[in-house]
């Protein structure tokens, strides 16, 4: 099955001759007997490309994807339209196959993309500096916690239950590593972060405070008040933000937030059953030399020509090793490219138009469903409602190839009968009305 190697019999003879060994096996002489596998790997035999394609297509065919149902499922990843030019660009070998740009003279394409990505994220978040990407949303939250630890030397992290459950989970897992405790603060009766409870949890040993905008239920948080409360003892204010609503929401940077991270899937990336996408990481100027991961900087070459390089590498693991600001090496460059191309495709006015369309449809959907509201206040992109008979709703919706949303009970015992409904530019009035009709039929069934 050597379609990917090119050693002919003649090559083999000549190469062994030059090396000065009899056979390829001789090259493995230094591997002690005891650790040699000494048998074939127990794996299915290699197959022709067409057979592998059939097998993979068969597996793919057993998944119900977003073009086969009308989905209101969100909870962190969303069914947005990805413009065709993104795949056209990402499939170019010039973007798809290079390594991290260690030789800048032959990587100006990748480095300028990083620089433009950093600019776009800074504009969205209202914070002056951004790195070139981290893995995804939840681990970006964990990375912010680590930065706060290095910055404040304190040991407590305060996180609102408004944060995505996966963000809170990743934060706890990483914090166990870097020796910090995570304290969660509750939501109010109307599904917003409880400012007072947050203020109460913050003390002199609090390194960072975490809120999410909009929060997991879709509530538009009072970010200004929350940040003020959180920073009362000098903690780092971290906001996990959904990038598209930032088209019309006040940028976290303008509300006292120190670090704004978030999930980048909605910016021109695939759902891909949860990854790969990218995380973004923007911060106040003073954190520039503490940022995790790659950063591209503008400079000039010997002829005075404009160019870009990886900069401030002394923060990174390949230079500072055990004193690095983070252990990340390979990150999400190709997915970040999709992000900046998508933001340029939307453009200055397009982002506003898309965010406003989502805002209005979210509002329309909540009205149309006419179910009891868990977060009656302002919402964007998502909202939570109580459903008298969730199983019935799912069953009837499924019958009409509708996926009604996320069962909140999986992560929030307090919302056992809660349904999280997500809205994108792909969910038109017609789709929403069909969901509303199903909801109505369930309501009547329960009422009858």
């Amino acid at each position: 099955m050597s379609r990917y190697t090119g050693v002919t019999e003649r090559d083999l003879r000549e190469m062994l001759d030059v090396i000065g060994v009899e056979s390829v096996d001789d090259l493995f002489a230094e591997i002690p007997e005891g650790v040699r596998l000494g048998r074939e790997l127990d794996l299915p035999a290699g197959r022709a490309e067409q057979d592998v394609y059939e097998h993979l297509a068969g597996l793919a065919g057993r998944n119900r994807h977003c073009d086969e149902e009308v989905t209101f499922l969100g909870a962190g990843m969303y069914d947005h339209y990805v413009p065709s030019l993104i795949d056209t660009l990402l499939q170019r070998s010039e973007f798809l196959t290079p390594y991290t740009p260690y030789q800048p003279e032959v990587s100006q394409g990748g480095l300028q993309v990083m620089f433009e990505f950093q600019t776009a994220i800074s504009e969205l978040t209202g914070l002056p500096v951004s790195n070139a990407s981290v893995y995804e949303g939840p681990s970006a939250v964990a990375a912010a916690g680590y930065l706060a630890k290095l910055e404040t030397r304190r040991s407590k992290l305060v996180a609102s239950r408004g944060l995505h459950p996966h963000s809170r989970g990743a934060l706890r897992t990483h914090a166990a590593g870097y020796g910090m405790e995570v304290v969660e603060t509750p939501l109010t009766a109307t599904g917003a972060t409880d400012t007072d409870a947050l203020a109460a949890a913050v003390d002199d040993d609090t390194a960072a405070v975490f809120v999410q905008q909009p929060n997991f239920l879709g509530t538009v948080e009072e970010l200004g008040e929350l940040t003020e409360a959180g920073k009362s003892t000098g903690a780092v204010a971290v906001c996990a933000a959904d990038p598209l609503p930032l088209g019309i929401l006040r940028p976290p940077g303008e509300l006292g937030v120190d670090i704004c991270v978030g999930e980048g899937q909605t910016l021109g990336n695939r759902l891909d059953f949860g990854g790969p996408s990218f995380g973004f990481f923007a911060a106040a100027q003073r954190f520039l030399r503490k940022l995790p991961g790659r950063i591209a900087g503008e400079t000039r070459d010997v002829d005075g020509k404009r160019g870009f390089v990886l900069t401030l590498q002394t923060r990174e693991q390949h230079i500072r090793r055990e004193k690095a600001t983070h252990n990340i090496c390979t990150s999400q460059a190709l997915n970040a490219l999709a992000g900046v191309v998508y933001l340029s495709w939307l453009g200055k006015r397009g982002l506003v138009e898309l965010a406003e369309l989502m805002l209005r449809r979210t509002h329309y959907a909540r009205e149309a469903l006419a179910l009891e509201r868990i977060n009656p206040g302002p919402v964007i992109r998502e909202f939570a409602v109580r459903v008298p008979d969730l199983d019935a709703l799912f069953e009837r919706a499924r019958a009409e190839h509708i996926n009604p949303g996320y069962r909140l009970g999986r992560d929030y015992p307090e919302y056992e009968d809660g349904l999280l409904v997500a809205i994108t530019e792909r969910r038109g009035k017609e789709d929403i009305d069909r969901l509303a009709a199903v909801a109505a039929s369930v309501r009547e069934k329960v009422a009858a």
């Binding site: 099955m1 050597s2 990917y4 190469m15 060994v21 493995f28 005891g34 650790v35 596998l37 790997l41 035999a45 290699g46 993979l56 297509a57 057993r62 795949d87 070998s93 010039e94 798809l96 290079p98 030789q103 800048p104 003279e105 032959v106 100006q108 394409g109 990748g110 993309v113 500096v129 897992t173 590593g177 870097y178 930032l246 929401l249 759902l271 059953f273 790969p276 070459d301 010997v302 404009r306 160019g307 870009f308 900069t311 590498q313 390949h318 055990e322 690095a324 983070h326 252990n327 390979t330 490219l337 340029s344 495709w345 453009g347 397009g350 982002l351 506003v352 369309l357 209005r360 996320y406």
Partner: protein
């Protein structure tokens, strides 16, 4: 308007922001089919932007031209030889992009009910099995997002394991030749790094190891073959020492391409191994990601694996077994990230494993090692060896390291200059200045997908550069000459960092 010879000179490098012109657009919003209520009615006043984000305004043709032209400035794997040591720049099969793009994969929501995602869950379950077989360790978690993330997972598992034994332990041993992510991970996992020396033959200094492997050591992180490209034949002794000290043995799988189907980390006594799917298993490097760093662990580590785990439940009434995500893992270290890992990367890796099968994976390693030893032999010839002596004159595995000490001392030409001159010959330089152990290091990993002609040509390029440097070292010191930009002021970029474009920049 300059009229010199370089066609690109006329057009100063512009960012997409500087190509923006008010009123241009590539995006056309779908019609608003719901009441267009004013934003103020739906959002709190102070929660709304005062001015829109300064994103560029460009038409589709200009957007496509901007990024297509940018891409053509990148050296890439489908263009020429890319022997970056420890990065395994092997060919990315094009089938993998086709199957990754199938809507059943690319358009599948991560929270879709398991019974409507059986194809994806089965693929993950089968990949776990295949990786377990390659690693020789039975339990696999696909969740870590890259090698470093896998390393962190490994040390968090080590911490959980030791705490469960009631001994928290504080130190982790890493060889001085270890990749930078190893020590960085140790610190991030709350441990203290203790370096272990390298013996004359390039392997772990056993005496130094015995001295440092005390009861406070939680784990030894090792990669075998190591970053010098040498297989540490004392591995069984190393395993004994570490396990006797009660520590776990962590295998950095970045160099797996040398030993697939030949030697397995599980059989070397390792407890935890991470794979770099974007190295060994052809996930394209994408300019710095995405990748994936799944881990395989021994029985004693399994209980602590991240949540959720992909499992196969026996089917009810004899029906198909249900593949599912298991969240009920009381002793698990919890989540490392959102959802369940970089599924798109798993699709490509799984397609690769099903394309090659066991014998194909083994053949890949055999040819990778053959190519490395052949290129090493070419560079050991007269006219090269004096200037770029091999660091350790032993049979190498999939990569080898030469030292630019000879060129520096005899020709006054540093490894950096040699690397930059290679750019003018249409090849990508090897990894430079790593591992730190070797002075003016050049770490060369050809991989199995290169032909003999490409290896011969690379040796010719090296020979030509050294010959030229003997006559006129200035040429290499000023290289490169034919690339889109020449040497860049990296110091200046760090001193006065400019990390974003600013509107007002336009007129300075």
């Amino acid at each position: 308007m300059t009229t010199d010879l370089d066609p690109r000179a006329g057009e100063e490098t512009l960012t997409i922001f500087e190509r923006s012109r008010e009123g241009r657009r590539a995006f056309v919003a779908p019609d608003c089919d719901v009441p267009e209520l004013p934003v103020e009615e739906l959002l709190p006043k102070e929660g709304v932007r005062e001015r829109p984000a300064e994103l560029p305004e460009v038409s589709e043709p200009e957007l496509v031209r901007h990024y297509t032209t940018l891409s053509s400035k990148n050296f890439h794997l489908d263009e020429g030889f890319y022997p970056l040591g420890s990065c395994t720049m092997k060919h990315n099969p094009k089938l993998h992009e086709r199957v990754a793009a199938l809507p059943g994969h690319a358009r599948l929501h991560p929270l879709q009910d398991p019974e409507y995602a059986q194809g994806a869950l089965e693929l993950m379950w089968r990949l776990q099995g295949a990786l377990a077989e390659v690693a020789g360790l039975p339990h696999v978690s696909l969740q870590p997002s890259a090698g470093s993330h896998g390393e962190l997972a490994g040390l968090l598992l080590t911490r959980a394991y030791h705490e469960a034994q009631g001994e928290p332990r504080t130190k982790v041993l890493t060889p001085d030749t270890a990749h930078g992510t190893n020590p960085a991970t140790v610190t991030m996992a709350g441990y203290q790094v203790v370096k272990v020396g390298t013996a004359a033959d390039g392997g772990v200094d056993l005496d130094d190891l015995r001295a440092k492997a005390d009861a406070d050591v939680a784990c030894l992180m090792l990669t075998n073959p190591n970053t010098l490209g040498l297989f540490d034949s004392n591995i069984e002794e190393i395993e004994r020492i570490v396990h006797e000290a009660g520590a776990t043995l962590y295998y950095d799988g970045a160099n797996l391409n040398a030993v697939m189907g030949i030697a397995r980390s599980g059989d070397m006594g390792f407890d935890i191994v991470h794979f770099n799917l974007h190295k060994t298993f052809t996930q394209p490097h994408g300019g710095g990601g995405p990748g994936a760093g799944p881990i395989a662990v021994s029985d004693r580590i399994e209980p602590f694996l991240p949540t959720p785990q992909v499992v196969r439940r026996p089917g009810g009434n004899g029906s198909e077994p249900l593949f599912d995500l298991d969240y009920d893992r009381p002793r698990s270290i919890g989540r490392l990230r959102g959802f369940h890992g970089n599924f798109g990367v798993f699709v490509r890796t799984y397609a690769y494993i099903r394309s090659l099968g066991g014998d194909g994976l083994k053949e890949a390693s055999q040819v990778a090692v053959l190519n490395a030893n052949y290129l090493k032999a070419l560079l050991a010839e007269e006219g090269i060896a004096e200037y770029l002596p091999i660091a350790f004159d032993r049979t190498c595995m999939h990569e080898f390291v030469v030292s630019g000490r000879g060129a520096k001392e005899r020709l006054g030409v540093k490894t950096l200059d040699i690397a930059k001159r290679m750019l003018d010959h249409g090849v990508h330089p090897p990894t430079v200045y790593f591992p730190l152990l070797v002075d003016e290091a050049l770490m060369i990993e050809p991989t199995e997908t290169e032909t003999k002609e490409r290896l011969d040509h690379f040796a010719c390029v090296v020979r030509a550069i050294l010959e030229e440097a003997r006559e006129d070292p200035e040429i290499a010191r000023g290289a490169p000459y034919t690339t889109p930009v020449r040497r860049l002021d990296e110091a200046g970029a760090a001193k006065r960092p400019i990390v974003r474009w600013r509107p007002e920049d336009e007129n300075d």
